[in-house]
Symmetry: C2
Subunit: 302 residues, 2 copies
């Protein structure tokens, strides 16, 4: 239902064997990118996914490792002959920052719309998903994102009959239409049972572990969370640079009851993230050190 | 004496197996970069060369495939703890373009000096090399570069004796010093024979083949030249987009009498450049289709 691919797992700078952290999601023929550091377009090509359907890019913040790939990415969209509008979402001044970078990508054959995030929580819709941006705790203004795909309730024949809904409207109402006929207004609520569990993906770099993250990530099917340091001795460094250790990320995942958690945004000095995972899993079991281009297909549970 | 590495061979956009065209030269402990497209820093790391000694970056023009890697590269220099000044050379408005890109790399702990190229030919010195920038024929203002390392003449004992130079000054004069003593001025010319053949490297993308290129590339030890298209049927496309075919580049190399020529800046559609090289070598033999990270150590001939 939603395909996700973590295009890279690096923080700070790209390495020959590790791309910068960026997430790509495909849903219903559209794609969303979260962050776009240097060489993001290369990782997408390596994965074999198509660039053209990217209709939205969400930025967490404007440190170069999260946005330096944007000019090249815009030109890649141009080369892919994209003509649909692109929406760019990001913290305050997103339009100014993007336009400044566009000094080397001035001629783009599609419209760019901007959504500037405001406040501690900002709700919006993107490519058919319900999204929330939430403020994190980094050394610059930085947001995390959650994306949700809602799932309607099942069709309830008894309910439809009890409300005396004409049979000819049942299918349209099930699809979510509102119908006016014979002086009555028919809505989907009249034929559907309670909403069922949908899908939820939460993405969160760069930040200290604040309790709000667990609230926004609550019951995520996939929680993608920064883990800058695996070595417990780097705890002070994590505090100083406003990042997290693997253990702090695991405690957030546990508090959020996340069904699956991927660690990412590793320090360049962290060459073997998996070596710390036995200890990390003692805190919360369904968590792993992600690798570049890990992917997953998220489906409604039945 | 001079180490060169062609960090990439791609034009337009980076590919998983082909970096964007960029040249790195090392001489006497300093390094020069020519162009810096997206992921240039990754290619340097793959090569295993050090980023920190880069003291100058020459830009040919401001199309994104030649400069999009700059913000990340500046931060890589910062992470490498560079403190020496960096000189950035490029066409008109280079300072404005670079500062616009620095919206995501504002805090750099070293000075950046700019040299703005003017006119059809611009002479300057960079990291101990004598350099010329020369105007090309592209769809935006674009320059090629030649870099020369001069080689002094041999010490001429008879000449020194004939000019009555005190023995104690011989060694200092040979090193190029000028000495005033006993009411006389002694110069290196008084003890050295005629200058010997030095080293010359010429770099040239993106352009149509104009005769000036062969003049500036004259007798180069290494001529690095764009070859956007290998297929002879792409000749019209080359004219339209102001690029060159392999055959046009080979004719320039022949006219320049270049000792060795590397083709680069291939179209993304050109997957096997070497397939055209038999035909190309019929025009001029010492030429090859370069690959990413090809390197060469250039030494004075003895």
């Amino acid at each position: 239902m939603i395909d996700v691919c973590l295009l890279g797992t690096g923080g700070m700078m790209p390495l020959p064997y590790r791309n910068l952290t960026s997430l790509m999601m495909r849903y219903n023929g559209k794609s969303i990118l979260v962050d776009c550091g240097e060489a993001t377009q290369i990782s997408i090509k390596q994965k074999g996914w198509s660039i053209k359907p990217v209709d939205a890019i969400c930025f967490t913040h404007f440190h170069a490792d999260h946005i330096s790939g944007l000019p090249g990415f815009l030109l890649a969209l141009k080369n892919a002959e994209k003509t649909d509008p692109l929406t760019i979402i990001g913290p305050k001044k997103v339009e100014k920052v993007v336009n400044s970078l566009r000094v080397i990508a001035p001629e783009i054959p599609f419209e760019i719309n901007f959504i500037e995030l405001e406040g501690d929580q900002f709700d919006f819709e993107v490519c058919g998903l319900r999204a929330k941006a939430f403020k994190l705790n980094h050394n610059v203004l930085c947001y995390g994102y959650s994306f949700e795909l809602d799932r309607a309730g099942e069709f309830d024949v008894e309910k439809a009959k009890a409300a005396d809904i004409p049979l000819k409207f049942w299918s349209r109402l099930q699809k979510g239409e509102t119908i006016e006929a014979d002086g009555r207004v028919y809505t989907k609520d009249m034929v559907l049972g309670p909403g069922r569990k949908g899908l939820k993906i939460t993405y969160c770099t760069d930040t200290r572990p604040i309790p709000e993250i667990a609230e926004y990530a609550k019951d995520s099917d996939l929680f993608i969370c920064e883990g800058m340091y695996g070595d417990p001795e780097k705890q002070e460094k994590a505090i100083e640079h406003k990042h997290m250790t693997f253990y702090e990320a695991a405690r957030l995942a546990k508090a959020a009851n996340a069904k699956e958690t991927w660690l990412t945004h590793y320090s360049p000095s962290l060459t073997h993230p998996e070596q710390y995972m036995d200890e990390v899993r003692k805190i919360w079991e369904p968590i792993r050190a992600a690798k570049d281009r890990d992917d997953k297909e998220l489906n409604f549970r039945d």
